[in-house]
Amino acid sequence: MLNKTYANRLKNMLLVSTGIFVILLARMAYLQIYKGVYYDRQADGNRLRSTRIVAARGLVYDRHGKVLVNNFAGYTLTLQPHRQYTEAMLQTLGEILNVKPEMIKARLKLAADSYEPIKIKSNLNTDEITSIEERRRELNGVAVELEPERRYLFNELAVHVLGYTGEVSEYDITQGKYKGLPQGSIVGKAGLEKTYDNYLRGTDGKRNEEVDASGRVVQQLGSVAPKSGKDLALTLDLGLQQAMEKAVDEQLTALQTSGVAPYAKACAVVALDPRSGAIRAMVSRPGFNPNLFVRGISTKDWQAINQNPFDPMTDKAISGEYPAGSTFKVVTGSAALDLHKVTPDELIFDSGHHWIIPMGNAGGEALGWINFQTAFAASDNVYFYEMGRRVGIENLDAYAAKYGFGRITGIDLPGEAAGLIPSPAAKQKVFGEEWGLGDTFNAAIGQGLTLVTPLQLAQMLSVVAENGVLHQPYLVEKVLNEDGTVLAVPQRAEPKNVGISPETLTLIRKGLLGVTQAGGTAAYFSNLGVPIAGKTGTAENPHGQDHGLFIAYAPADNPKLVVAAVVEQGSYGATAAGPIVYKVLEYMLQEKD
């Protein structure tokens, strides 16, 4: 009998079996007790998903409550943190989304410590969403989430004012303006979107969900609702802005096609209410469509913007620095009259050039005996050379400073330039040269080293219009809650009197009025039907054709709007910039305020 012969073997088999079962049990103890907590967390990691609910950014309204910027529902693709994604999966994703798998890997690596979903691509199009849904099984751990997408309703309109949004950069998270924000957050990158990001952004919410193996949500485990961003009520007037944009584009096209100024492609115009400093319209050309950035700009579009020599990304209205040209005669005239270096009636002889240094008028004309009024209206250089000589460069600079030149206006936009008011000390320092009378002559007519921004010009003219009171220019009237109540009024500098006598300013205003009347450099403005105060300017440009400038306010007897326009390489101010200002004022005058 085998079981008698090998009875021991049967006993050993039982022993060995028991031994094997003890090993199995030890393995269970290892997995379930020793490593139990670890695997419990892994199981939670499998089933729990935390989703960020992106808060909608605040809306942006014009001064009449018309929406300029809002949001609509876009789709965003996210991956889960602490999850392994295979090479093949990343490859598939890359193909669907048309991005490099390396880029996805880099994102996963960056977010290694995060518990937030990792955003791979925003604003998916229908094809991408369909492809992802079709391959749900393969693309385990990939989620498509609804997210508000920024929309600039009027595309290029006021793009430099509004700015645009984009994903926060690595630099900004670690040390910049947006320190500590989660990766993939949408923040303001330029313009008001950037300045007022803290108000506009809102607070993201969070949703905890239980999901099954295919990523479908099984149950909601609680959530924190997002808080929408606050709305901005701007000073901009949509109608005026549109009129200004149209006027600018028409004028640039006309200049280019007529052959007068083929390179007139860049331009900046500012319109503000001198009574408050509220910017009513502001244009910089060339521009771009901010909606391109919302969707993650394509290489082609980016190249088109980046390689444009006229720099579409720059807001030339606040950071374009130009010689003021003859518009600066407002400053020179103010200084001369205010300091009693001349009386309005004193006649000065213009022989075509000044008698100390033979610097003359641009066109070489000689006007003979002229007083302040005539000299200002006709923009006579010789007269103002003499004014500069009498006033002296120090006093000239002091009056330039009174009008706000040489420093930023403090408008609520990023990247404003300060311009330059040349002084003998600065010339010595920069060029190592003595200041000569010729330099003073140049400064007196806004040429040479003088640099101003279009916004500064508008500010100067509003001081004149407001009889010496300077209002800081600004763009945001109020920050609003969702229900329309006022949350905050952005702080701005108190209006201040710059210290120029009313008598002087009355004479300047009279001079400005003369410009648009018969005998003035912009006489065609009389067609508008109401008296207009204006000044032309033609700024010498060593790199090409002269820049054309025009500044004006209307109505002359009750100023409601100041406009300053600069057309780069547009030649004469009256013909290049004047027509733009004309159309803007025309629109303003027919509108009921």
Partner: protein, 362 residues
């Protein structure tokens, strides 16, 4: 009749009944969602049928089996050939045979047939198996169905054949040093075996060595199974509360990976109870072998016990990540009629042998 009932091995019966009950509970948990509730009912129905079949089998003396062993062997070979030719492919292997409305897995039944045939084959010859070379006949006898199963390809069942053969050989006096020699030769021939394996089998082995190699492909089962078991911790998450099992992270959770459901929902305590129940079955099986009236009974009992042991160790080892993934179900617990039926018949066979026993205990 009273003596008959008294001579039934009630410990074995209770252990098997307990495991089947646990099986139903786990199958319900694994399948109740998504309209698969019928699976538990179907399994219960087959249990009932299997138990009746087992009861009926007890009325026939197991010794009668020896007489049908030869035709049974022929039938088995033909059956396996049939699978090869007319088999119904599933998951890359031809394992199913359709018979009217019923599809069944012939290889599961062949495990039982193999035990009977080999026991009968060895019964007359066991005393002539003195030297290593004397084993060539029984080896050849096993090799034919073994290779046919390998062709399916069904590595799991083939290895079960190996386990059955080895346990019976050991009962015939196969020397331990021969076993060691076989082991050595086996190890040396591993590269050659590797060559004959299907790509998916190779991947399973590769992934067994390192599941992280392919966490969403071949390694997925094992990783998720380990997470399921581990996250059960001491007392488990509770019935129907296992997140891995209920949210489909654990595939095949009602068949081959059902032990992971137990581990997740009933914790270490649940694992302990199930493993203990299997140990009882092994103990009873070997005890019946020891008490068998004749060599045929001893060989049958040892073969059956060896088969159960192999299934349990490989299956639980697989879910716990210490054995490669081979499609071997957990006896009495995994969903599947073919496996359940043949396992119940084999338990019947053990009981049958025990009815004729001489009293002798470990």
């Amino acid at each position: 009749m009273q003596r008959y009932l008294r001579n039934l091995d009630w410990i074995l019966i209770m252990a098997v009944a307990a495991l089947m009950a646990i099986g139903l509970i786990l199958i319900f948990s694994a399948t109740h969602g998504g309209g698969y509730g019928w699976m538990m009912k179907r399994q219960a129905l087959f249990m009932l049928a299997g138990v009746i079949l087992m009861g009926v089998s007890l009325t026939v003396d197991y010794k009668q089996l020896e007489r049908i062993a030869a035709p049974l062997y022929l039938f088995m070979v033909l059956l396996l050939l049939g699978v090869m030719l007319f088999g119904h492919a599933q998951m890359g292997a031809q394992r199913w045979l359709r018979l009217g409305p019923l599809a069944f897995q012939p290889s599961e039944f062949c495990k039982g047939f193999m035990i009977v045939c080999l026991a009968a084959f060895l019964n007359g010859r066991s005393y002539r198996l003195l030297d290593f070379t004397d084993y060539w006949q029984p080896v050849l006898f096993t090799l034919v169905p073994f290779l046919l199963v390998m062709r399916q390809p069904d590595l799991g069942t083939a290895l079960v054949f190996g386990a059955i053969t080895l346990s019976m050989f050991l009962m015939c006096g196969f020397k331990m040093r021969w076993l060691a020699l076989c082991g050595l030769v086996g190890c040396l021939s591993l590269p050659a075996v590797w060559h004959f394996l299907k790509e998916y089998q190779r991947n399973r082995l590769r992934v067994f060595l390192n599941p992280e190699l392919d966490p969403f492909g071949a390694g997925y089962h094992v990783i998720q199974s380990k997470i399921a078991i581990g996250s059960g911790m001491l007392l488990g998450k509770g019935w129907l509360q296992g997140t891995q099992s209920q949210l489909n992270f654990l595939p095949e959770n009602h068949t081959d990976f059902i032990f992971a459901v137990a581990g997740e929902e009933f914790g270490f305590l649940g694992s302990l109870i199930i493993i203990a129940l299997y140990l009882i079955i092994i103990w009873r099986g070997l005890s019946i072998a020891l008490n068998a009236e004749d060599d045929f009974g001893t060989l049958l009992a040892v073969g059956i016990t060896g088969m159960f042991l192999f299934h349990v160790v490989v299956n639980i080892g697989m879910t716990a990540g210490i054995m490669p993934v081979t499609g071997v179900p957990l006896p009495f617990v995994s969903y599947g009629a073919s496996s359940l039926t043949i396992n119940l018949l084999l338990v019947g066979l053990l009981l049958n042998i025990n009815l004729q026993r001489e009293q002798l205990q470990f």
